[in-house]
């Protein structure tokens, strides 16, 4: 079976204060980027997954997110399969 490149984006859930994002916002504004009105900081994971199809790779990656990669209490995730 082929390998697929699966990109996972994990973000702090909307509504939960993101102090890292706030600090980045303030730092950018202090550097003169006054047009920045917000930033949120999350995680980007790149997985190499062996699967029969892109859809199967995505299903597996979602199971990994539910089990380990994201905390369902505090985070949301998105999964994208991109050509290897």
């Amino acid at each position: 079976m082929p390998d697929f490149r699966v990109e996972v984006r994990v973000m702090p859930r909307g509504g939960i204060l993101d102090p890292q994002g706030q600090a980045v916002t303030h730092a950018l504004q202090a550097l003169g980027f006054a047009d920045v009105h917000g930033a949120r900081v999350g995680k980007h994971l790149v997985l190499t997954v062996e699967a029969a199809s892109a859809g199967a790779a995505e299903t597996r990656a979602r199971a990994m997110c539910d089990r380990l990669l994201a905390n369902p209490v505090t985070e949301d995730y998105q999964v994208a399969v991109v050509p290897a």
Partner: protein, 238 residues
């Protein structure tokens, strides 16, 4: 004398103080390595503070899958007393043994200092030697200590008296409702961010934390604390 298993993960750093505090209170404490699968007939299990797995991914996220955690979960399901201190609290949340989660402090600082907390639930195996409403000083030392949970969970915690410790005189990390510790519905699983094991002797500057460990040796400490209102002749709070 209760057998107290203190689980050691790679990156734990408070297990020695925790064992000392339990021994000082009259318990029989011992270490259990996270790769073990047997709690060795523990009456009580404690997950100590530290930085298990370097806090990689999220604090506690990887430790929760350590081999010992199946036995820890079984102990909790059977009603056994289980305490998570700081990183141990984070692990219990990640494992789903306690509700909610612990995220980055709101002011982006690692906070290491004594704080005041109010003991709000004394019907747990780890707080029955305190008086309800008693205010104590205990140290905190964490970067990810801001307790969050969804609104229905928070409402249930408050309505059911499951906020065990609450910060008073200032909220050091932005925790929702100034929550410093919670317990599960059965009140046998408790998580607290402050470190009672670091303040259990006058030589350490105070002993407000020692009653966490004395609670374990109180009469029938695993039973519901409704049975524990008078321990040693002292009123223990209703």
């Amino acid at each position: 004398m209760r057998r107290v298993a203190v689980v050691v993960f790679p990156g734990s750093n408070s297990e020695i103080e925790t064992v000392d505090a339990a021994r000082d209170a009259g318990s029989d404490p011992y270490y259990v390595w996270h790769k073990d699968t047997d709690l060795k007939r523990a009456d009580v299990v404690i997950l100590p503070g530290g930085f298990s797995y370097g806090d990689y991914l999220r604090s506690g996220a990887i430790a929760r899958f350590s081999p010992i955690m199946e036995a820890v979960a079984a102990h909790a399901r059977a009603g056994g007393p289980l305490l998570g201190i700081c990183n141990g609290f984070q692990i219990l949340c990640e494992a789903g043994l306690l509700p909610g989660g612990l995220v980055r402090n709101d002011r982006l600082r690692y906070v290491s200092r004594p704080v005041r907390v109010r003991v709000e639930a004394v019907d747990t195996p780890f707080t029955n030697a305190y008086r309800r409403g008693e205010e104590i000083t205990v140290p905190i030392a964490h970067g990810d200590g801001r307790y969050v949970a969804d609104a229905p969970t928070l409402a249930a915690l408050e309505a059911e008296g499951r906020v065990v410790w609450r910060y008073v005189g200032g909220n050091p990390n932005g925790s929702t409702n100034a929550i410093a510790g919670v317990c599960n519905a059965g009140h046998n699983v408790v998580g607290i961010m402050p470190h009672p094991e670091r303040l259990n002797d006058p030589v350490l500057g105070g002993q407000d934390g020692k009653n966490v460990f004395f609670s374990l040796e109180a009469r029938d400490a695993t039973q519901h604390a409704g049975d524990l209102r008078a321990v040693g002749g002292h009123h223990r709070g209703m």
